[in-house]
Amino acid sequence: MSLSITDHMMGEEFTYSGAMIVMRDAAQKRLFESSDSGSVTELLLKDEIVFYAGPIITEKRVIIGPTTSARMDKYLGELYERGVIATVGKGPRAAPAVEVCRRYRRPYLVAPSGVAAFLSTKIERIELIAYPDLGPEAVYRIFVRDFPLLVAVDKFGNNIFERWEKR
């Protein structure tokens, strides 16, 4: 996978085609806090993009959109430690999480939120990776085409939300 996704600067909008690991609250809690995380401890997160989301999977489509990233701030360092190259979600992250982005030189990207029907047209396929008992909170790999993203925090720690918060 190309690492160029990490090079976009704060505020830049671009589209991405490729794979992402879909993983949100419950899966991250199990992965990072439980002694019983099973095969997923072996899950290779190296060079992956983690997308905070819980999809709806129908026969015809994958309906998906970002969830609030700040809830998973506490696991961000763990993700980057395991080689994740970027995270995708919605909304601002707390200052310590922005600092983690800067320290690991990894961007935090936002996808448009509340537009799952539109995003469903950008999903090519989905594979279940782990924790099927979690339903929409299981771990998946999705393959997307022309998926819209915007750099909220770039690898230097510049934060699009901060310019408003500082006022």
Partner: protein, 278 residues
Amino acid sequence: MIKTTVVERVLRKELIKANTVINDEVFDYLKRYNGPFCSALKENVVVSKQNLIPLCQDTGMLEFFVFLGHKVVLEEPVETILTRAVKETYVANCFRTSVVDDPIFQRKNTLDNTPAVVHVFHTQGNQMTVKFLVKGGGSENLTRLFMLSPTATVQEISDLVVEVVSAEGRKACPPLNVGIGLGGTADKALLLSRLALTKSFNERNSRHCYAHLEVELLRRINELHLGYQGLGCGLSAYSVHIEFFPTHIATLPVAISFDCYLSRRGVVEFVDNGSYDG
């Protein structure tokens, strides 16, 4: 008698509509938005309506407010009927099941989006009005309850609301709809703040001083420049509604609830014509 089959049929239709067809008031604002991700937001409306797929993947935990006339006869408890309508709608239409059975231990997904939260208010007459909110978890997490000193000033309350929106509002997919419950007991204030979210954006409190405060709060919140997606362009909030109730001499409960930019809600009315043969 109002037949179960009638209530279920109408509710199923309304729940699908609320999840897949954009609210007209929201659409009027969206048409004028030209900031980041504007084409995604606008195309979403079309894709969703054409294919009857949800506008947002978070199809919510359903909250119902039932105003049940004292002459209305039902075949079953209203909660049973509404829960079944949610279950059938969400399973049949592949809407996301976002409810877990217990909050701290197993958190096992119930896989049919039930239970729903149902509040019943007993009213005069032969009519049953069912209002509902399809609210996602992101906006729900912003809910706040403050038990202020009864000597708190209007200015202090206003500052408090603006502070909450300023600190947290970007997480809840703005532009927001803001519901404020003042007075009563703690639980009553929260409930009022939810009822406030069921109103149309342009509706104002009938009491002038409260209507004035609604307008003033909306003006202040929009000066925060949250913008669509929290990215600084466009509105911060569509509307602020306040609902109030008498309260204890020692208390001043202030509850604040938020809805996201989709403001997915509905209202349905049923009339019991007195006939038992349906």
